[in-house]
């Protein structure tokens, strides 16, 4: 796992290594083990390396046999051994054992069709010097990030936006619509990033840069089939896919560890990883002082069964608040939950224990309908068919049993909240309650900011953007599609995933996000995934064979962290009060200072108990931090000395600094 950056110039005026070195320095945390550069008159590539495969020989940028195809690569190609054999059979000569090299030879052989052959998580750029093109690609589900900006016919791209700013050619200007999406969907929808004129390459797409223009193409579509019958061999196929998915992701020249939440999904990945590991597995968990969020007993139980050497990152009363500014520096976008912060600490612990690759359970809830949101969809539809039925409405009381608010989750108000949320005919019916809950933050917008969004309706834009095939899917498959495109790629794998892990040079690997497993699950009847109100039914049925009964039967416990209480519990850090002061609020211009003052008063007195107030506090505070770190501060000017680079390929480029 690594970080990449690069520049493409329409005119051959020469790319400066100095500029590339500033871009690389901005994302050095992604690749602390080495770095390298390529520069010629039209194109520059930079790479910071986290060495995992072919530790001695895998430095980048890396070229083909003749040096006219150059790659800078962030990620893993898990089936590189199989692809290498195919390419060698076609006459390609490899000079390393590294998975990176299949990209240059594969691109020579198959062009963009290479992508459909890759099983992996990746973001990379390939420069074809003969064709004078830059090929940018991102994996199917968006595990690895890639951002780009076009300025004056020049292309700038990087794993993180901060590297674009470090180029000196891209400004950090907030995109109001992207912020409005954060306060509706929890994250901007790609290609929007948080910044105007900076785009995120969408998962499952590639882009081709030629003669100063960039064209984006989709190579992978999320698709679902609404079959009625489960195939007779479904369990056998699931078993084979799960084992293959884990075994492929254990391929590394360094020890692979595992994150353990104590739930079903990470217990499965840790169990299979322990069986496939040549070493005793290292496992890592988050624990909370606050027992409402803590799952340490379950984690210890699973670690004992798996036989792993287990370590925990403990979240004390001030841990989240103390690290929150660093967390936002890495998310590069405001967030409405503090949940990424403990993941930041978990990665730090993992790295300190000498582990830089971990398997995690993300993706299972999307593939096998694990979230309460999917049950909510079923219950809402069931009740709306006979809204007068008080018996049916009682089912709402079975949703979200982990919420610590007696009296709030069973009564008529709770029922009305769901029943009034929207019409079954709405294409985004499944997510309307969440959108409404999150959108409450917009009540804090300043009049000017609200006016700037007067013509914006991000939910309508979402409806209009849905692919034609979406409308033929079942309600649960529609919900799964929205969950994968709105939340998984843009928030869970990004703010809570890649960014927190790579802040400390730790690579997450996701066996449930093997595209073969997704395609298998998407063709199952929804009743195999959510039977009645029993989530992940087929996964549990299969997991009985490899896990102990208690873990298999345990109801899903969502990963959560304390929100407002993190900042107003035991002492409030001065930065919180500074950033939420009237002066700071007026300076950012986004919020009504009177409203924020009211919210701070409620939080400080411990009365901000509702979800929406907690989300508002985290959303506003993280936006203020984001404005302060990215918009109001100058971009970093730090550089990586090219003289110490592992790779320095130059072709008539300007002289070194």
């Amino acid at each position: 796992m690594c970080g990449i950056a690069g520049i493409g110039l329409a005119q051959g005026t020469g790319v400066e290594v100095k500029t590339l070195s500033r871009m690389a320095a901005a994302i050095r945390h992604r690749g602390p083990d080495g770095y390298g550069f390529y520069a010629d008159q039209r194109v520059g590539l930079a790479h910071v390396r986290l060495s995992i495969v072919d530790v001695a020989g895998g430095a980048q940028p890396l070229t083909n046999e003749t040096g006219n195809v150059v790659v800078t690569f962030n990620g893993e190609v898990y089936n590189h051994l199989e692809l290498r054999r195919q390419l060698e059979a076609r006459g390609h000569v490899f000079k390393t054992r590294c998975d990176t090299e299949v990209l240059v030879h594969g691109y020579e052989e198959w062009g963009p069709q290479l992508l459909s052959r890759l099983n992996g998580q990746f973001a990379f750029a390939i420069y074809d010097a003969a064709a004078q093109t830059i090929f940018l690609a991102r994996d199917r589900f968006g595990v690895r990030p890639l951002f780009y900006a076009v300025r004056d016919e020049a292309l700038y791209f990087a794993s993180e936006v901060k590297a674009l700013f470090a180029s000196g050619e891209v400004d950090a200007t907030p995109d109001p619509v992207a912020l409005d999406e954060v306060f509706t969907f929890w994250a901007p929808r790609a290609p929007r990033s948080g910044f105007a004129g900076v785009a995120a390459l969408e998962p499952g797409t590639y882009a081709m840069w030629r003669d100063g223009s960039l064209r984006v193409h989709r190579y992978y579509e999320l698709g679902f089939c609404d079959h009625d019958l489960e195939p007779a061999d479904a369990i056998e196929r699931l078993d084979a896919l799960m084992r293959s998915g884990v075994e492929l992701r254990m391929r590394a020249d360094v020890p692979v560890g595992a994150y353990l939440s104590g739930g079903l999904d990470s217990s499965i990945t840790a169990t299979l990883a322990a069986a496939a590991s040549p070493h005793q597995l290292r496992s890592f968990s988050i624990t909370f002082d606050d027992p409402r969020f803590d799952e340490s007993q379950f984690q210890r139980d699973v670690a004992a069964v798996v036989g792993s050497s287990h370590s925990v990152a403990s979240m004390g009363a001030t841990t989240i608040a103390d690290s929150f500014p660093d967390v936002i520096w890495h998310t590069e976008i405001p967030i409405v939950r503090t949940a990424p912060a403990p993941m930041f600490h978990l990665a730090r612990l993992t790295k300190a224990c000498g582990i830089k690759v971990v398997l995690t359970g993300e993706g299972a809830d999307e593939l096998f309908l694990g979230y309460d949101l999917f049950k909510e969809v079923s219950v809402r539809r069931f009740c709306l068919r006979r809204p007068e039925s008080s018996v049916r409405r009682k089912l709402f009381g079975r949703l979200y049993p982990y919420l610590d608010a007696p009296g709030a989750t069973g009564g008529e108000f709770w029922q009305r909240y769901f029943l009034d949320a929207g019409d079954c005919a709405d294409p985004v019916f499944s997510h309307l309650p969440r959108f409404a809950l999150t959108s409450w933050i917009k009540g804090f917008y300043s009049p000017d900011f609200a006016a700037s969004l007067d013509q914006t309706d991000v939910i309508s834009e979402l409806r209009d953007s849905l692919p034609e095939r979406y409308h033929s899917w079942s309600p649960l498959n529609k919900a799964a599609y929205l969950e994968m495109t709105l939340l998984l790629a843009s928030y869970l794998l990004s703010s809570q995933g890649d960014r927190m892990a790579m802040a400390h040079g730790v690579e997450g690997r996701f066996p449930f996000l093997d595209h073969r497993l997704f395609e298998f699950s998407a063709a199952l009847p929804t009743s195999s995934r959510l039977r009645g109100l029993k989530e992940k039914e087929i996964l549990r049925r299969w997991a009985k064979h490899i896990l102990q009964g208690e873990t298999v039967a345990r109801r899903k416990q969502p990963y959560r962290a304390p929100d407002a209480a993190s900042f107003f519990g035991r002492g409030t850090p001065s930065y919180v009060l500074d950033l939420l002061s009237e002066d700071s609020i007026r300076r950012s211009g986004l919020w009504s200072h009177k409203a924020v003052t009211g919210l701070v008063r409620r939080c400080a007195s411990g009365r901000a108990a509702t979800f929406r107030e907690n989300q508002a506090l985290v959303g506003i505070l993280s936006t203020q931090l984001w404005m302060h770190r990215f918009v109001e501060s100058a971009a970093s000017n730090a550089t990586l000395d090219p003289k110490h680079a592992d790779v320095l390929l130059q072709d008539a480029a300007p002289s070194l600094p």
Binding site: A405, P406, G407, A408, T409, G410, G411, E412, F413, W414, R416, Y417, D420, L437, W440, G443, F444, S592, K594, A595, G598, L599, R601, R602, R607, A609, T610, F611, R612
Partner: protein, 99 residues
């Protein structure tokens, strides 16, 4: 010698209850919407003034402020759906407790 006895507090009437409820709602649920016009008969949930978690806060307030306990089966739109409904509910509960 005449004994001095404190004069009894005037009984709470529905308009007083309503005024205190309004102040509570404005301070705790409408602080970010100073221009919001809330009528006594407006449905609090429908107009986005409180959510189901906010109802719990309201129930706690009613208990602390007026000494009125709310049973689970009394948590309904009929009793807690509008300022007017809550005031009538509190008033009735207090009256029946004093009867």
């Amino acid at each position: 010698m005449t004994s001095l006895r404190p004069s009894p507090a005037p009984p709470l009437v529905e308009p007083d209850i309503r005024a205190r409820l309004r102040a509570f709602v404005e301070e705790n649920f409408l602080y970010m919407r100073p221009d919001f016009v809330l009528r006594d008969e407006d449905r609090l949930l429908e107009r986005g003034v409180i959510d189901s978690m906010g109802v719990v806060e309201m129930i706690t307030f009613i208990e602390d402020e007026f000494g009125v306990k709310t049973a689970d089966d009394e948590i309904s739109e009929a009793n807690l759906g509008t300022l007017a409904a809550i005031a009538a509910f509190v008033s009735n509960k207090r009256n029946s407790a004093n009867a």
